[in-house]
Amino acid sequence: MRDLFAIRKELPPAWNRILGVAAFALPLLAWCVVSYVPAVWHPLVKIDKPGGVSWFSPGLLVDKPVFREESARAVAAGRARPTGEPANPIFLPAPDKVARALYTAFTTPPRLQGEQWLYQSLWESIKTIIYGFAISSAIGVPLGVLCGSYAFWSRLTEPFVDFVRYMPAPAFGALSVAVLGIYDAPKVAIIVIGTLFQQILVVSNTVRKVDPALLEAAQTLGASRRSLLLHVIVPWSLPDLYNDMRILLGWAWTYLIVAEVIGVSSGITFFINQQAKYRMFENVYAAILIIGFIGLGTDQVLGFLGRRIFPWKNPRPSRFRRFMLELFTTARTIDASPSEPSERSAA
């Protein structure tokens, strides 16, 4: 048992799995307890039969003290006693309701004409992310590589990038609507603004970590400057850049929610806001969970592919079963794999 809390030591594989499952099971358990054990919270009463209280109706939620007071008054006046059961506020639906909503949200047609189905909203959000991230990467990755490799480009670019980086992307919302219209373009622009400036700095920092001994070795093998960039710096940084992209993609999702309320509200954010207006909070939870599933899913798939694409980082052959296990055991395995020890002596 002591071994489980040793500092910076690996856990036994079985424990990795147990804790990985527990990481999800414990919050779920807490949610179940709050939802299904009335003694824990349940500050409200859901009216079953209104009895002699005129303003009660079946399904209405009232505070417990109000319910007690009204039922006492009804009994004193000789009217029928109302009945009801303890309940949680409407913004905390029980897990089974949310679980059902995960399915029914997809099968329920939109309430109003012109509104979108859930899957349409989702697809719109995903498209916004893909466009935004692709545009940002198309500029940010090459520029970051240049900045990390050449002091010239770094000096010319990074001070300004650092300056813009501190401006919150949503601050550009009104401006981007004015320039790009009210539909999809300003939303993509917000994601680009939110991601690009961080991306340039993250990429250049990763590229800067290339082992100088490898560059010197390549030079003594006759490599030109161009060749150093293309055949040493780029291949050396690719696995780390790939990981950076995984993390930055997570940031892009954060900006998505901000971007989607700009101009004509759209995508998954519109769905969430509409459902909250209808007080269908189980659908709100379902939509939020779906974003989580999409995020975790893409990250795990990208991590799995990363180990395939860069076998030199992790020479053991990976199999599908390990992928399934690792879903619950380790995240970001590429970061954790041992890198080449550089044992350069100080001259």
Binding site: T220, W236, S345
Partner: protein, 300 residues
């Protein structure tokens, strides 16, 4: 003369065969000509002279070791020879042409492992030839030959991370040689290896040197390694780094590990110790013996 009978053997004594070999060596063309090299590093509030007026010549197919106490600038020297650093004064000529930056004519093996981790062993060796503009198939053929020479054909498709330290350095040697360099510069290449692997690698290196037309300049701080490998040993003195002596190693070739106990070997060794650690014995005596009371007589 009676007196010489009682004198310890000198490192200057050469058997006739060895003397003949050095005459032949000196007659060979000069591959690398180092002319009064100086290197000054600026430091806070002054400057450090790393190298001062270092001159020597390396002849074709010579095996030269550079030795010296730490801080004598031997790494700086080899980095200048490779073109990775620019000297403050003086010049380096390879086949009469002045060195201006790194080039494929001077291969280098570093102390740290500098194989490209994303390339397989074979692709690592192909790197130089492909930079030269060879086609992939031609470079492939070339790489296989050099891997065979260092005995690693079986590991052609492995990644560096899967190799032991000694194997990595063998690949590094093959990679440097695949460029057909005039000179192979080696900066303490076996320094990170364990003693047994190091002895093996020294043996391998002599075999390779015998089979390949290449001149070697080998940096080390290990006296035995220098004597075992070198034709001549360049001894540097520290602060500033200057040439102290150029020693012609009188140990006959082919070198064998059994020669480590021989008289010529011992003579060179004691000379090197004299040059590099002149005060080591005296300092041992001066060590304060604070712990003696606790240790008792258990330790002699």
């Amino acid at each position: 003369m009676d007196t010489t009978f009682f004198m310890p053997p000198s490192y200057l004594d050469q058997s006739e065969a060895v003397a003949e070999r050095f005459r032949r060596l000196r007659a060979r063309p000069v591959v690398m000509d180092v002319r009064s090299l100086g290197k000054v590093f600026p430091t806070t509030g002054g400057q450090t002279v790393a190298l001062h007026d270092v001159s020597f010549q390396v002849h074709r197919r010579e095996f030269m070791c550079v030795i010296g106490a730490s801080g004598c600038g031997k790494s700086t020297l080899v980095r200048i020879l490779a073109g990775l650093e620019v000297p403050t004064s003086g010049s380096v000529l390879v086949d009469g042409a002045e060195v201006r930056g790194p080039g494929a004519d001077r291969g280098m093996v570093f102390q740290g492992y500098t194989l490209f981790p994303w390339l397989t062993v074979k692709k690592n060796v192909m790197f130089g030839p492909m930079q030269r503009g060879l086609s992939e198939s031609a470079a492939d053929v070339e790489a296989r030959q050099w891997l065979a020479l260092v005995g690693l054909e079986a590991f052609a498709d492995h990644f560096p991370v899967q190799l032991s330290g000694g194997m990595k350095q063998r690949v590094a040697i093959a990679r440097a040689l695949a460029n057909n360099p005039r000179i192979l510069l080696m900066d303490e290449p076996f320094g990170a290896l364990d003693a047994q692997t190091r002895a093996q690698m020294q043996h391998y290196l002599l075999q390779i040197w015998k089979n390949v037309d290449v001149t070697i300049v080998f940096i080390t701080h290990d006296l035995d390694e220098a004597i075992y490998l070198a034709d001549r040993i360049l001894v540097l003195k520290a602060h500033p780094g200057e040439v102290r002596e150029m020693i012609e190693v009188p140990v006959p070739r082919p070198r064998l590990p059994s020669q480590f106990g021989g008289t010529e070997f011992g003579a060179v060794r004691s000379r090197l110790e004299e040059l590099i650690h002149p005060k080591s014995e005296a300092m041992l005596d001066e060590l304060p013996m604070i712990r003696l009371a606790q240790a008792g007589d258990d330790v002699e």
